[in-house]
Symmetry: C2
Subunit: 386 residues, 2 copies
């Protein structure tokens, strides 16, 4: 039984297997209950500084590369605004590779900041073709965005391959990876792939309560900020305000712009230390194994997936179609009765045809919890396949 | 000893008496350790909805007034951007009443969103004169901002009186109250005073870990948003995005724009229920009594305050000058050795001349904790006055 023995377990707690928020470990929850602590205290400063360093490590970047981690109170969505407000000036061309709902929203956000957006849309469940990407790069856009895992479709974009296409066809184009649903669950090699911005949140692969915007910016992205001709289009998410603060915390010095979410940073620190205690590669492998187990079991039940093939399906979640004649009300409430919370469909074009299972963090890595066996057993029962 | 018996007490925890973050109660910390819960779950929706209603109540507003509470992941600073991005269009005139550091920053933020700012600056420790305010209102600005308690000076602005001046001399001017350091520690009557925006954060009077931006907008502020001729200048903090979400949560319906900080909202709900269980008036009185105790004791030691008189001094904090010949290194580290954390000076003009003591939340209300007696005893010892 998931969470049994947790000191924080509530009578009504159900196993949370949506594509975020996910189940959190007890040490992370305990850290989130850290007593009142000053954001400038000698106890907290090294915790913040270490978290910045560990974030770089989890994303396979190095201090020598000049990459800049930025942790700000906010949702994952705030990362889109950070990209728009800091890197876009009115009229800048941006290519948005769209693999679902979150591509539409990222594009809408960038347009608020004056971007001229060219969306390269894949079919539902697919990814943009190389030809379409290369064609969009012909105009040498300032920025190209990739939704690494679009939570609405469960599609995993081949970020390494796309980054290679960009380097080959428009090397000055900045690459922003929306990794809200992929950090610490899918492979990301920030330096090796030549990424410029990774944006994420804490409540998915990192396994920390929601409320913290997680960003890593390359040296090239920071230089783009420095070369702006017009002012940054935000106060709160201006990297000009935050970069000195992050550098100070990383150097062990107190610093203030806006009060950081101290307890969430303690929680993130706890999670990052746990993640970094093994190799990142091992963690990604654990997510691949969890994903294979879930997808193999669902396949054996005759179910099909939203992603058109296994090689473009996320490892941290599964978007699975209902069998013919079955709809969400036949499945989701009955799983909830069994203390299992999965998510309904989100992509407008197919919302009623599928549901979503998250398998990130401790659910994927600490298999002895039995979370995934419980989910599969529940689905079998509900579909009458046991 | 503060926090003794707390199930979350850490060996190194020191009594936190800065002007935020403050000491948090155990029930609030436990709520912040709520296990993974979906932001759309039947368990969470009523908690969010109730929190919105309770926020209105704490600010002495009513649903009938059409006021709109908005809770978003972010720091208190994000509230400034919310005002700027939603209510300001390029060229709009704004009067910023400046009683310290935070007035400068609010003005800078509004300028990012295109405001033409007229700052009415008080002398350090003072408030703007009525004449200066009336004169600034002559141009009928779109918005006037008040820093209710400027944490850098401990000055409490007479918000009710200023609001009356605005209603009298420029009734169409919107009134925004920066109440980051005053919600739930100073009197705020949103409807009766005719305020249009109150912005705040959780880590001060509300007694909840930092990471949540707290806003209440009047019907008139929402109508100003609706009448904009140019688009809202942000995606993440666009009230057009958030108001429907907040209305849905308040009506008990799931809704999604960006993932809310679920655990922080559980924590806020716990704090708001505790606050609302007594009368708001009683709570404010408790803060006044705590403030009087601290200020009387410090006065008896011959110390003087940054605010020029008691009637413009905050009740949730005290900005107190060092005696002649004494500086921060003589006091703050020695208090820390006694497990007492106060804050250094922040206002540039006088930063080395004073320090700051917070007395909000459980430190002020649950006097049986003995927090304030411990602080006064510590100060007496450090200054050799015992």
């Amino acid at each position: 039984m998931s969470g049994s023995g947790s000191q924080f377990k509530q009578a009504e707690h159900k196993l949370l297997v949506i594509p975020g928020p996910i189940e959190f470990s007890d040490p992370v929850l305990l850290a989130n209950a850290t007593p009142g602590t000053a954001h400038t205290s000698p106890a907290f400063i090294p915790v913040f500084g270490e978290s910045l360093k560990l974030l770089r490590k989890v994303l396979e970047s190095t201090e020598e590369s000049g990459s800049q981690p930025i942790l700000i109170a906010g949702s994952g969505t705030l990362g889109w605004d950070a990209v728009g407000a800091n890197l876009i000036e009115r009229g800048d061309e941006v290519v948005v590779l769209n693999t679902g709902y979150f591509g539409d929203s990222f594009a809408e956000c960038l347009e608020v900041y004056g971007a001229k957006v060219n969306q390269v849309k894949a079919e539902v469940g697919g990814i943009p073709t190389d030809e379409a990407i290369i064609s969009a790069l012909a105009s040498k856009p300032k920025l190209l965005t990739i939704t690494h895992v679009d939570t609405s479709t469960g599609v995993l974009s081949p970020a390494e391959h796309i980054a290679k296409l960009v380097k080959q066809h428009s090397p000055d184009t900045l690459i922003a990876l929306d990794a809200v649903c992929s950090v610490a669950s899918e492979e990301i090699k920030f330096d090796a792939w030549g990424l410029d911005v990774v944006i994420s949140a804490t409540q998915k692969g990192l396994g920390v309560p929601p409320g913290l915007s997680v960003v890593l910016a390359s040296k090239r992205a920071v230089e783009t900020l420095e070369k702006r001709k017009t002012p940054v289009q935000s106060y709160y998410i201006s990297w000009n305000k935050w970069i000195p603060i992050m550098k100070n915390y990383e150097a062990g010095k107190p610093s203030y712009f806006a009060t950081p979410p101290v307890q969430l940073i303690y929680a993130l620190n706890t999670a990052l230390k746990s993640i970094a205690s093994a190799s990142i590669g091992q963690r990604i492998e654990a997510h691949r194994a969890a994903s294979k187990y879930v997808k193999d079991e669902l396949t054996s039940l005759g179910l099909e997936f939203v992603p058109k093939s296994r090689d473009i399906a996320a490892n941290g979640m599964t978007a699975v179609k209902f069998p013919t004649g079955v709809t969400a009300p036949d499945v989701l409430p009955k799983l909830a009765e069994r203390d299992i919370v999965v998510a309904a469909g989100l992509h407008k074009a197919i919302a009623t045809e599928y549901f979503r299972i998250g398998h990130m963090g401790i659910t994927a890595v600490n298999r002895e919890r039995g979370d995934l066996e419980k989910v599969i057993k529940g689905i079998k029962e509900v579909l009458g396949k046991n």
